[in-house]
Protein backbone atom coordinates (compact mmCIF):
# COMPACT_ATOMS: atom_id res chain seq x y z
CA UNK A 1 0.00 0.00 0.00
CA UNK A 2 1.35 3.44 -0.90
CA UNK A 3 2.02 6.08 1.77
CA UNK A 4 -1.02 8.08 0.69
CA UNK A 5 -3.36 5.08 0.89
CA UNK A 6 -1.97 4.11 4.30
CA UNK A 7 -2.71 7.63 5.57
CA UNK A 8 -6.22 7.60 4.09
CA UNK A 9 -7.15 4.22 5.59
CA UNK A 10 -5.54 4.67 9.04
CA UNK A 11 -6.81 8.26 9.46
CA UNK A 12 -10.31 7.12 8.55
CA UNK A 13 -10.24 4.29 11.10
CA UNK A 14 -8.78 6.47 13.87
CA UNK A 15 -11.31 9.26 13.25
CA UNK A 16 -14.28 6.91 13.25
CA UNK A 17 -13.00 5.26 16.44
CA UNK A 18 -12.80 8.66 18.16
CA UNK A 19 -16.26 9.73 16.98
CA UNK A 20 -17.94 6.40 17.67
CA UNK A 21 -16.40 5.42 21.03
CA UNK A 22 -19.08 7.29 23.01
CA UNK A 23 -22.11 6.41 20.88
CA UNK A 24 -21.14 2.73 20.54
CA UNK A 25 -20.15 2.11 24.16
CA UNK A 26 -22.74 4.29 25.92
CA UNK A 27 -25.39 4.89 23.25
CA UNK A 28 -28.88 5.53 24.61
CA UNK A 29 -27.84 5.56 28.28
CA UNK A 30 -27.88 8.81 30.28
CA UNK A 31 -24.50 10.15 31.38
CA UNK A 32 -23.62 10.27 35.09
CA UNK A 33 -24.53 13.71 36.49
CA UNK A 34 -21.03 15.25 36.67
CA UNK A 35 -20.27 14.10 33.11
CA UNK A 36 -23.61 15.53 31.92
CA UNK A 37 -22.80 18.91 33.47
CA UNK A 38 -19.35 18.88 31.84
CA UNK A 39 -20.82 17.92 28.49
CA UNK A 40 -23.48 20.66 28.68
CA UNK A 41 -20.71 23.26 28.46
CA UNK A 42 -18.63 21.48 25.80
CA UNK A 43 -20.45 23.29 22.99
CA UNK A 44 -19.65 26.83 24.15
CA UNK A 45 -16.09 25.87 25.17
CA UNK A 46 -15.18 24.07 21.93
CA UNK A 47 -16.96 26.42 19.53
CA UNK A 48 -15.35 29.46 21.17
CA UNK A 49 -11.95 27.75 20.90
CA UNK A 50 -12.62 27.03 17.21
CA UNK A 51 -13.64 30.66 16.60
CA UNK A 52 -10.51 31.91 18.35
CA UNK A 53 -8.05 29.60 16.60
CA UNK A 54 -9.55 29.77 13.10
CA UNK A 55 -9.54 33.58 13.39
CA UNK A 56 -6.21 34.26 15.07
CA UNK A 57 -3.93 31.27 14.53
CA UNK A 58 -1.70 30.64 11.55
CA UNK A 59 0.04 27.34 12.18
CA UNK A 60 1.60 27.80 15.62
CA UNK A 61 1.66 31.60 15.43
CA UNK A 62 -0.95 34.09 16.59
CA UNK A 63 -1.64 36.70 13.95
CA UNK A 64 -4.04 39.61 13.67
CA UNK A 65 -4.89 39.84 9.97
CA UNK A 66 -7.76 40.46 7.58
CA UNK A 67 -9.64 37.45 8.94
CA UNK A 68 -10.11 39.17 12.32
CA UNK A 69 -11.77 42.16 10.65
CA UNK A 70 -14.12 39.90 8.67
CA UNK A 71 -15.02 37.74 11.68
CA UNK A 72 -15.65 40.84 13.83
CA UNK A 73 -18.06 42.08 11.15
CA UNK A 74 -19.76 38.67 11.11
CA UNK A 75 -20.04 38.67 14.91
CA UNK A 76 -21.74 42.06 14.75
CA UNK A 77 -24.10 40.71 12.09
CA UNK A 78 -24.94 37.63 14.20
CA UNK A 79 -25.54 39.87 17.21
CA UNK A 80 -27.93 41.96 15.08
CA UNK A 81 -29.71 38.66 14.28
CA UNK A 82 -28.60 38.38 10.66
CA UNK A 83 -29.15 34.96 9.02
CA UNK A 84 -26.12 32.64 9.06
CA UNK A 85 -25.50 32.82 5.32
CA UNK A 86 -25.51 36.64 5.41
CA UNK A 87 -23.07 36.65 8.33
CA UNK A 88 -20.73 34.29 6.47
CA UNK A 89 -21.02 36.38 3.30
CA UNK A 90 -20.19 39.53 5.26
CA UNK A 91 -17.16 37.79 6.81
CA UNK A 92 -15.84 36.71 3.40
CA UNK A 93 -16.51 40.08 1.74
CA UNK A 94 -15.00 42.16 4.54
CA UNK A 95 -11.95 39.87 4.75
CA UNK A 96 -11.36 40.03 0.98
CA UNK A 97 -11.78 43.81 1.09
CA UNK A 98 -9.41 44.17 4.06
CA UNK A 99 -6.78 42.22 2.07
CA UNK A 100 -7.05 44.59 -0.86
CA UNK A 101 -6.88 47.72 1.29
Amino acid sequence: MSTAWTVVVVTGIVTLALKAAGPVLLGGRPLPDPVARFVALLGPALLAALVATTTLASGTRLVLDARAVGVAAAALAVWRRAPVLLAVGIAAAVTALARVV
Binding site: R37, G43, A52, T53
Partner: protein, 230 residues
Protein backbone atom coordinates in the same frame (compact mmCIF):
# COMPACT_ATOMS: atom_id res chain seq x y z
CA UNK B 1 -40.88 14.89 23.02
CA UNK B 2 -38.57 17.29 24.72
CA UNK B 3 -39.06 20.93 24.04
CA UNK B 4 -36.49 22.58 21.83
CA UNK B 5 -34.60 25.39 23.54
CA UNK B 6 -34.33 27.34 20.33
CA UNK B 7 -36.33 26.81 17.16
CA UNK B 8 -38.53 23.88 16.31
CA UNK B 9 -35.93 21.90 14.33
CA UNK B 10 -36.41 18.20 14.89
CA UNK B 11 -36.58 16.21 11.67
CA UNK B 12 -33.89 14.97 9.26
CA UNK B 13 -35.09 17.61 6.79
CA UNK B 14 -34.81 20.38 9.38
CA UNK B 15 -31.21 19.37 10.02
CA UNK B 16 -30.40 19.28 6.32
CA UNK B 17 -32.01 22.69 5.75
CA UNK B 18 -30.29 24.32 8.71
CA UNK B 19 -26.98 22.99 7.40
CA UNK B 20 -27.29 24.71 4.00
CA UNK B 21 -25.14 27.76 4.84
CA UNK B 22 -22.58 25.42 6.34
CA UNK B 23 -22.70 23.09 3.32
CA UNK B 24 -21.94 25.96 0.93
CA UNK B 25 -18.77 26.84 2.83
CA UNK B 26 -17.87 23.16 3.17
CA UNK B 27 -18.27 22.66 -0.60
CA UNK B 28 -15.79 25.48 -1.27
CA UNK B 29 -13.28 23.97 1.13
CA UNK B 30 -13.87 20.49 -0.26
CA UNK B 31 -12.72 21.85 -3.63
CA UNK B 32 -9.60 23.24 -1.96
CA UNK B 33 -8.93 19.89 -0.32
CA UNK B 34 -9.27 18.10 -3.66
CA UNK B 35 -6.70 20.42 -5.21
CA UNK B 36 -4.32 20.16 -2.26
CA UNK B 37 -4.66 16.36 -2.11
CA UNK B 38 -3.48 16.07 -5.70
CA UNK B 39 -0.46 18.20 -4.93
CA UNK B 40 0.23 16.00 -1.89
CA UNK B 41 0.30 12.88 -4.05
CA UNK B 42 -3.04 11.55 -2.83
CA UNK B 43 -4.75 10.06 -5.89
CA UNK B 44 -8.28 11.11 -6.97
CA UNK B 45 -9.97 7.99 -5.62
CA UNK B 46 -8.01 8.09 -2.34
CA UNK B 47 -8.85 11.79 -1.85
CA UNK B 48 -12.58 11.25 -2.40
CA UNK B 49 -12.56 8.17 -0.19
CA UNK B 50 -10.73 10.10 2.53
CA UNK B 51 -13.39 12.83 2.47
CA UNK B 52 -16.13 10.20 2.72
CA UNK B 53 -14.51 8.20 5.52
CA UNK B 54 -12.58 10.74 7.63
CA UNK B 55 -15.07 13.58 7.09
CA UNK B 56 -13.08 16.10 9.11
CA UNK B 57 -11.74 19.08 7.21
CA UNK B 58 -8.93 20.31 9.39
CA UNK B 59 -7.52 16.82 9.94
CA UNK B 60 -7.51 16.06 6.21
CA UNK B 61 -5.80 19.35 5.41
CA UNK B 62 -3.21 18.59 8.08
CA UNK B 63 -2.52 15.07 6.77
CA UNK B 64 -2.27 16.30 3.17
CA UNK B 65 0.06 19.15 4.18
CA UNK B 66 2.38 16.73 5.96
CA UNK B 67 2.50 14.48 2.88
CA UNK B 68 2.99 17.48 0.57
CA UNK B 69 5.96 18.56 2.70
CA UNK B 70 7.49 15.10 2.30
CA UNK B 71 6.52 13.84 5.76
CA UNK B 72 5.90 10.16 6.48
CA UNK B 73 2.64 8.30 6.94
CA UNK B 74 2.89 8.14 10.73
CA UNK B 75 3.45 11.91 11.05
CA UNK B 76 0.49 12.59 8.78
CA UNK B 77 -1.80 10.23 10.71
CA UNK B 78 -0.66 11.66 14.06
CA UNK B 79 -1.35 15.25 12.92
CA UNK B 80 -4.83 14.25 11.77
CA UNK B 81 -5.54 12.22 14.92
CA UNK B 82 -4.52 15.12 17.20
CA UNK B 83 -6.93 17.42 15.39
CA UNK B 84 -9.70 14.85 15.82
CA UNK B 85 -9.22 13.97 19.48
CA UNK B 86 -11.95 16.51 20.30
CA UNK B 87 -14.44 14.10 18.68
CA UNK B 88 -14.03 11.76 21.65
CA UNK B 89 -15.77 14.12 24.16
CA UNK B 90 -18.09 15.34 21.38
CA UNK B 91 -19.13 11.72 20.72
CA UNK B 92 -19.70 11.13 24.44
CA UNK B 93 -21.86 14.28 24.59
CA UNK B 94 -24.34 13.02 21.99
CA UNK B 95 -24.21 9.35 23.05
CA UNK B 96 -27.26 9.42 25.38
CA UNK B 97 -29.42 10.77 22.53
CA UNK B 98 -28.48 8.10 20.00
CA UNK B 99 -30.59 4.99 20.08
CA UNK B 100 -31.03 1.90 17.96
CA UNK B 101 -28.67 -0.82 16.86
CA UNK B 102 -24.90 -0.72 17.13
CA UNK B 103 -24.58 -0.22 13.37
CA UNK B 104 -27.03 2.67 13.41
CA UNK B 105 -25.15 4.40 16.23
CA UNK B 106 -21.87 3.82 14.39
CA UNK B 107 -23.24 5.39 11.20
CA UNK B 108 -24.69 8.33 13.12
CA UNK B 109 -21.36 8.83 14.88
CA UNK B 110 -19.68 8.99 11.49
CA UNK B 111 -21.84 12.03 10.61
CA UNK B 112 -20.60 13.98 13.65
CA UNK B 113 -18.62 17.02 12.57
CA UNK B 114 -18.27 20.30 14.48
CA UNK B 115 -21.00 21.90 12.40
CA UNK B 116 -23.59 19.09 12.53
CA UNK B 117 -22.98 18.76 16.28
CA UNK B 118 -23.55 22.48 16.85
CA UNK B 119 -26.65 22.56 14.62
CA UNK B 120 -28.13 19.55 16.45
CA UNK B 121 -27.71 21.22 19.87
CA UNK B 122 -31.13 21.29 21.49
CA UNK B 123 -30.40 23.16 24.70
CA UNK B 124 -27.53 22.69 27.16
CA UNK B 125 -26.34 19.09 27.15
CA UNK B 126 -29.05 17.95 24.73
CA UNK B 127 -28.83 16.96 21.10
CA UNK B 128 -31.40 15.96 18.51
CA UNK B 129 -30.21 12.81 16.69
CA UNK B 130 -32.38 13.42 13.59
CA UNK B 131 -31.09 16.94 13.14
CA UNK B 132 -27.57 15.57 13.62
CA UNK B 133 -28.06 12.99 10.87
CA UNK B 134 -29.74 15.48 8.50
CA UNK B 135 -27.09 18.14 8.98
CA UNK B 136 -24.26 15.59 8.88
CA UNK B 137 -25.54 14.14 5.61
CA UNK B 138 -25.62 17.63 4.04
CA UNK B 139 -22.06 18.28 5.17
CA UNK B 140 -20.91 14.84 3.94
CA UNK B 141 -22.46 15.41 0.50
CA UNK B 142 -20.93 18.88 0.20
CA UNK B 143 -17.51 17.75 1.41
CA UNK B 144 -17.30 14.69 -0.85
CA UNK B 145 -18.80 16.58 -3.81
CA UNK B 146 -16.39 19.48 -3.31
CA UNK B 147 -13.44 17.11 -3.09
CA UNK B 148 -14.48 15.43 -6.35
CA UNK B 149 -14.74 18.83 -8.08
CA UNK B 150 -11.35 19.86 -6.69
CA UNK B 151 -9.67 16.64 -7.78
CA UNK B 152 -11.14 17.00 -11.26
CA UNK B 153 -10.52 20.71 -11.74
CA UNK B 154 -6.91 20.93 -10.67
CA UNK B 155 -5.89 24.46 -9.84
CA UNK B 156 -8.33 26.24 -12.15
CA UNK B 157 -10.12 27.64 -9.11
CA UNK B 158 -7.12 28.90 -7.24
CA UNK B 159 -6.72 29.89 -3.65
CA UNK B 160 -9.96 30.43 -1.69
CA UNK B 161 -8.23 32.85 0.69
CA UNK B 162 -8.33 35.27 -2.26
CA UNK B 163 -12.10 35.50 -1.80
CA UNK B 164 -11.94 35.80 1.98
CA UNK B 165 -13.31 32.27 2.28
CA UNK B 166 -10.86 31.48 5.08
CA UNK B 167 -13.02 33.75 7.25
CA UNK B 168 -16.09 31.64 6.43
CA UNK B 169 -15.40 28.98 9.06
CA UNK B 170 -14.76 31.28 12.02
CA UNK B 171 -17.88 33.22 10.99
CA UNK B 172 -19.89 29.98 10.85
CA UNK B 173 -18.61 28.97 14.27
CA UNK B 174 -19.62 32.41 15.63
CA UNK B 175 -23.14 31.88 14.28
CA UNK B 176 -23.27 28.36 15.76
CA UNK B 177 -21.87 29.53 19.11
CA UNK B 178 -24.22 32.50 19.62
CA UNK B 179 -27.38 30.51 20.49
CA UNK B 180 -25.38 28.44 23.01
CA UNK B 181 -24.38 31.46 25.14
CA UNK B 182 -27.63 31.99 27.01
CA UNK B 183 -26.44 31.05 30.51
CA UNK B 184 -23.69 32.70 32.53
CA UNK B 185 -21.96 29.31 32.85
CA UNK B 186 -21.93 28.90 29.07
CA UNK B 187 -20.45 32.37 28.56
CA UNK B 188 -17.76 31.62 31.15
CA UNK B 189 -16.93 28.28 29.48
CA UNK B 190 -16.72 30.01 26.07
CA UNK B 191 -14.41 32.76 27.35
CA UNK B 192 -12.20 30.21 29.11
CA UNK B 193 -12.16 27.86 26.11
CA UNK B 194 -11.05 30.61 23.74
CA UNK B 195 -8.40 31.81 26.21
CA UNK B 196 -6.97 28.33 26.78
CA UNK B 197 -6.85 27.63 23.05
CA UNK B 198 -5.14 30.91 22.16
CA UNK B 199 -2.62 30.57 25.00
CA UNK B 200 -1.61 27.13 23.69
CA UNK B 201 -1.38 27.97 19.98
CA UNK B 202 2.29 29.05 20.11
CA UNK B 203 3.21 26.25 22.51
CA UNK B 204 1.74 23.12 20.98
CA UNK B 205 1.00 21.21 17.80
CA UNK B 206 -2.15 22.23 15.91
CA UNK B 207 -5.16 20.45 17.38
CA UNK B 208 -3.86 20.38 20.93
CA UNK B 209 -5.27 23.87 21.79
CA UNK B 210 -8.79 22.76 20.80
CA UNK B 211 -8.54 19.55 22.81
CA UNK B 212 -7.23 21.45 25.86
CA UNK B 213 -10.11 23.93 25.57
CA UNK B 214 -12.50 21.12 26.57
CA UNK B 215 -11.13 21.67 30.10
CA UNK B 216 -13.11 24.93 30.15
CA UNK B 217 -16.30 22.85 30.32
CA UNK B 218 -15.18 21.71 33.79
CA UNK B 219 -16.65 24.98 35.14
CA UNK B 220 -19.96 23.09 34.79
CA UNK B 221 -18.92 21.05 37.83
CA UNK B 222 -18.42 23.96 40.21
CA UNK B 223 -20.71 24.43 43.22
CA UNK B 224 -22.98 21.64 42.04
CA UNK B 225 -25.16 24.14 40.19
CA UNK B 226 -26.55 22.42 37.16
CA UNK B 227 -26.96 24.13 33.79
CA UNK B 228 -30.64 23.42 33.59
CA UNK B 229 -32.51 24.20 30.39
CA UNK B 230 -34.71 27.24 30.51
Amino acid sequence: MRRAAHGPARSYGDGARRAVPVAIAVLAFGITFGVLAREAGIGPLAAILMSATTLAGSAQFAAASVLAAGGGASTAVLAAALLNVRYLPIGVSVAPWLEGSLLRRLLTAHLIVDESWAIAADGPGRWNPRVLVGAGTSVLAAWVGGTAIGVASGDLLGDPTRFGLDAAFPALFVALLAPQLRSAGARLAAALGATIALALVPLSAPGVPIVAATAAALVGLRSGRSETPR
